[in-house]
């Protein structure tokens, strides 16, 4: 490891109503991979935005490459050699790889853009990174992994001395993750400092040298990655003991009645002849690869998308669900995998979001009973530990995990008997994750039934009483929790291949 390339000292930043960064220290050596961890809303992204000039800090100093600096725009930071590879990639899909890499600083030949030279330079970059990407390919034709490589190539082409990775592996396959790690190791050798934001514990040991943890806007501590355990890190992150309750056998009582029965459901190409039963008090895991039709099945049951054929029975009675309204009237709630698009109404407040699915219960004459609405919501804010100053807070101001809890609240207030949770813990931190697991277990104890769609096998194995596996729009198998293993699930999930 070389000398310090970056020192951030006493960084403070306050937004109206939120003390986002509280006297935070952070340092980075040349050639170091430094993980930055913390729950959602802990201040990791804010710290990086202060570093790259997107936000202006209130106080503190940033020393970069020996000089005290204060960038006023990401562009300035970029020119100085600090580049972020964002979690949500920014590129223009209809342009080529080379055009994207050199966007805004194209090579010119007179007044014309010199495409040939850009392609040549891009090819050189990829050669240096030992990856195989055609610079003339359209960006939108690449896989997410390859798109990310292009972003990294762009960063390197800026002569970056510091590269910030914001949850780079969130959307990558395992092979792509390996490729990424190879590139990161390579960057290390070139003495580039790397800040690596992640939620994944396993990666910390594999790829990082040190790990710094933030909590509630404050710096908590730094550990040497190879000398610390997963639990050391988690304890720093949440400051409390994590709820652990792995499942070894089904918790569903013998002879529990079937509450939901789906027969030969067909809906487009992703849902073909799907049949299954859900019993009272059961958590039914839905496993499968991305695009295997789990979400589509859920949406068809919920009436969010039209179905072609198939029957749905609730408590033995055949029901005709044509719209989400019918589904909700039949006591089904659906927590979407994409909460920003389908879950929350960001410009409205917590209470308004919470009562959305059963506003009629809060009507007094012609008026909304605001008092009742607020007090009911406050109950759930308390019991789900939603971090919000008040029930009047706009949901847009909450962190991801807390937004997810607001969506949960919506269905709890509605008191649905059948809940479909689609990736309930995606993109949220360990603390909130554990809260949600705990809540799910409590719900089934109360006699609710849950369908849980999840792409994380450990999560499926930990929560489910029974597991349905889907593959290419069909149900490829069903496993009891006693017989299920990761290998068996993967085998069923890839049956077509």
């Amino acid at each position: 490891m070389g000398d310090l390339i970056l020192t951030m000292k006493g960084i403070d930043k306050t937004f109206p109503g939120v003390h986002a960064l509280d006297n935070v220290d952070f340092e980075l050596y040349r050639g170091e991979v430094h993980a930055l961890m913390g729950e959602n809303g802990a201040g990791k992204s804010t710290l990086m935005k202060v570093l790259t000039g997107i936000y202006k800090k209130d106080s503190g100093t940033i020393t970069y490459d020996g000089n005290v600096v204060e960038f006023t725009s990401p562009r300035e930071a970029q020119q100085a050699g600090i580049v972020i590879v964002h979690q949500e990639l920014n590129f223009l899909g209809h342009l080529t790889v080379a055009q994207n890499i050199f966007i805004g600083r194209e090579y010119m030949k007179g007044k014309k853009i010199d495409d040939a030279r850009m392609i040549e330079e891009a090819a050189k970059l990829f050669q240096r990174m030992h990856v195989n990407i055609d610079p003339t390919e359209k960006m939108s034709n690449l896989t997410v992994g390859k798109q990310q490589m292009c972003e990294i190539a762009k960063a390197i082409s800026h002569d970056a001395k510091i590269i910030v990775f914001d949850e780079p592996t969130a959307a990558l396959t395992e092979t792509e993750v390996e490729e990424l790690f190879d590139i990161i190791r390579d960057l290390k050798k070139k003495d580039i400092g790397i800040i690596y934001i992640t939620h994944r514990m396993d990666e910390v040991k594999v790829i990082t040298d040190r790990v710094s943890v933030m909590r509630d806007g404050a710096y908590v501590g730094t550990l040497i990655s190879k000398d610390s355990t997963k639990n050391d890190i988690i304890n720093l992150m949440v400051g409390r003991v994590i709820y652990e309750d792995p499942k070894t056998k089904s918790m569903v009582p013998e002879g529990a009645p079937v509450v939901l029965k789906v027969e030969n459901l067909n809906a487009g190409r992703f849902v073909q002849n799907v049949s299954f039963e859900l019993r009272k008090g059961e958590i039914l895991g839905f496993a499968g690869l991305m695009g295997s039709g789990r979400t589509e099945t859920a949406r068809a049951i919920f009436g969010a998308d039209p179905k072609d054929s198939g029957d749905i029975y609730i408590n033995g009675n055949k029901v005709d669900i044509k719209s989400p309204k019918d589904a909700v009237n039949n006591g089904i709630g659906y927590l979407s995998e994409d909460r920003k698009r389908y879950g929350i109404v960001v410009q409205r407040d917590v209470a308004e979001n919470s009562t959305m699915a059963c506003l009629d219960n809060f009507i007094n004459g012609i008026f909304i009973d605001k008092k009742k609405e607020d007090s009911e919501t406050a109950k759930y804010v308390e019991s789900l530990a939603i971090k919000t100053p008040s029930v009047d807070q706009l949901v847009v101001d909450l962190s991801g995990g807390n937004q997810q809890k607001v969506v949960l609240t919506k269905w709890l207030v509605r008191n649905c008997d059948i809940l479909i949770f689609d990736e309930p813990t995606r993109g949220i931190d360990v603390g909130a994750k554990s809260d949600i697991y705990k809540l799910m277990n409590e719900l089934v104890k109360e006699g609710k039934s849950i369908i849980m769609i999840s792409s994380e096998l450990p999560e499926v194995l930990r929560m489910s009483d029974r597991i349905v596996v889907m593959c290419e729009g069909r149900k490829s198998g069903e496993l009891s929790i006693e017989e299920a293993t990761q290998e068996k699930i993967m085998h069923l999930a890839t049956m077509g291949n």
């Binding site: 109206p16 109503g17 939120v18 003390h19 919920f302 969010a304 719209s323 989400p324 309204k325 589904a327 909700v328 009237n329 659906y334 979407s336 698009r341 389908y342 879950g343 929350i344 109404v345 960001v346 410009q347 409205r348 308004e352 959305m356 699915a357 506003l359 009629d360 009507i363 012609i366 008026f367 909304i368 605001k370 971090k387 919000t388 100053p389 847009v396 101001d397 919506k410 509605r414």
Partner: protein, 327 residues
């Protein structure tokens, strides 16, 4: 956990509306200084003539904008309603009260058509309302064979409807129209902020899909916003003729823009999900005083168009900026 520091009184009234009131006062002061005889009760009454019909248009369109839509047809729809019901009154000799109701019904029908296309056929409101704007102009012209229509004067038979805006008491006039507009605005405010209707409008304006997936029949509610808007245009027609009596087919576009300008100025966001009735009310007052002042200062009406255009740009710009800051 966190505490927001803000003066509770300012928070309650809204910073934006305090600024608007100041703008209104400063503008009035400006015209009082530079226009001859501007400070008089009659001037105010004359400004209010403009505020009444514009107010109803703006209140109606506030609901549509709250749902994330837009309605560019309200001005011509108002004219169409005024022309057709006026023609029924003067040419076919229908009773006055029937004609007044007809005017409202015509507005409501246009709103229903608009809302149906937007909510159930997924046509962008921008397009449907443009089409309806053209249609309503054409229908009015065809109906009267391109003749303008003059509603009766106060002294004439069937002239009592003009009392809807002001009534003579002794030597002075009582601005009845202002009371009616205020009353309707208060009802609108209650509907928007305290009832299920307003709640659904605002929520679906912010994220329609999330509201649909909460089991709400969003199409019904979305259509209702346009029906309310159209109905308000029908009411606006009555107040337009009560103020100016003569209506010519083929016009009315200008009033869309002024009504929308009033909303946007008042803090209703073109992106949907945020709306303020009191803001719209003050916005309409600003535009009405502005148009009266411009005439009083001796400039022609075209200047008003320029200034209203500028106001819209500034108001939308401020809205966009405040959003960007939040993100």
């Amino acid at each position: 956990m966190y505490q927001i520091k803000q003066n509770p009184l300012i928070k309650k009234i809204g910073f934006n509306r305090i600024v608007l009131c100041l703008v209104l006062l400063i503008m009035y002061g400006f015209f009082a200084l530079f226009a001859k005889n501007f400070v008089s009760y009659n001037r105010l009454l004359s400004a209010m003539n403009y505020a009444y019909f514009l107010g109803f248009l703006a209140l109606g369109v506030t609901f549509v904008i709250a749902t994330g839509g837009i309605d560019f047809s309200i001005g011509p729809v108002m004219f169409c309603a005024a022309i057709m019901s006026g023609y029924l009154l003067t040419h076919y000799k229908w009773p006055l009260w029937v004609c007044l109701i007809t005017s409202i019904v015509i507005g409501m029908l246009y709103g229903t058509l608009n809302g149906y296309l937007v909510a159930y056929k997924d046509v962008p409101s921008f397009i449907t309302s443009m089409a309806i704007m053209q249609m309503s102009k054409g229908i009015a012209s065809v109906f009267t064979k391109a003749q303008s229509v003059s509603w009766p004067q106060l002294a004439q038979e069937n002239g009592w409807y003009r009392n809807l805006i002001k009534i003579k008491v002794g030597n002075t006039y009582l601005p009845i129209g202002l009371f009616i507009l205020l009353g309707v605005a208060i009802i609108c405010s209650i509907v928007l902020n305290k009832t299920k209707i307003g709640r659904y409008f605002l929520c679906l304006g912010s994220n329609k899909e999330a509201v649909r997936l909460s089991g709400v029949d969003v199409k019904k509610w979305q259509m209702l916003a346009y029906i309310i808007c159209g109905t308000m245009a029908g009411i606006a027609a009555i107040f337009f003729v009560a103020a100016y009596t003569t209506v010519q087919p083929g016009y009315g576009d200008q009033y869309n823009n002024e009504a929308i300008a009033g909303c946007v100025m008042g803090g209703t966001s073109m992106a949907g999900g945020l709306a303020s009735i009191s803001g719209t009310f003050i916005g309409v007052m600003i535009i009405s005083i502005l148009q009266e002042g411009i005439l009083a200062i001796g400039l022609n009406k075209n200047y008003q168009l320029v200034i209203t255009g500028l106001i819209v740009i500034v108001a939308v710009y401020l809205d966009v900026m405040s959003r960007r800051r939040k993100n």
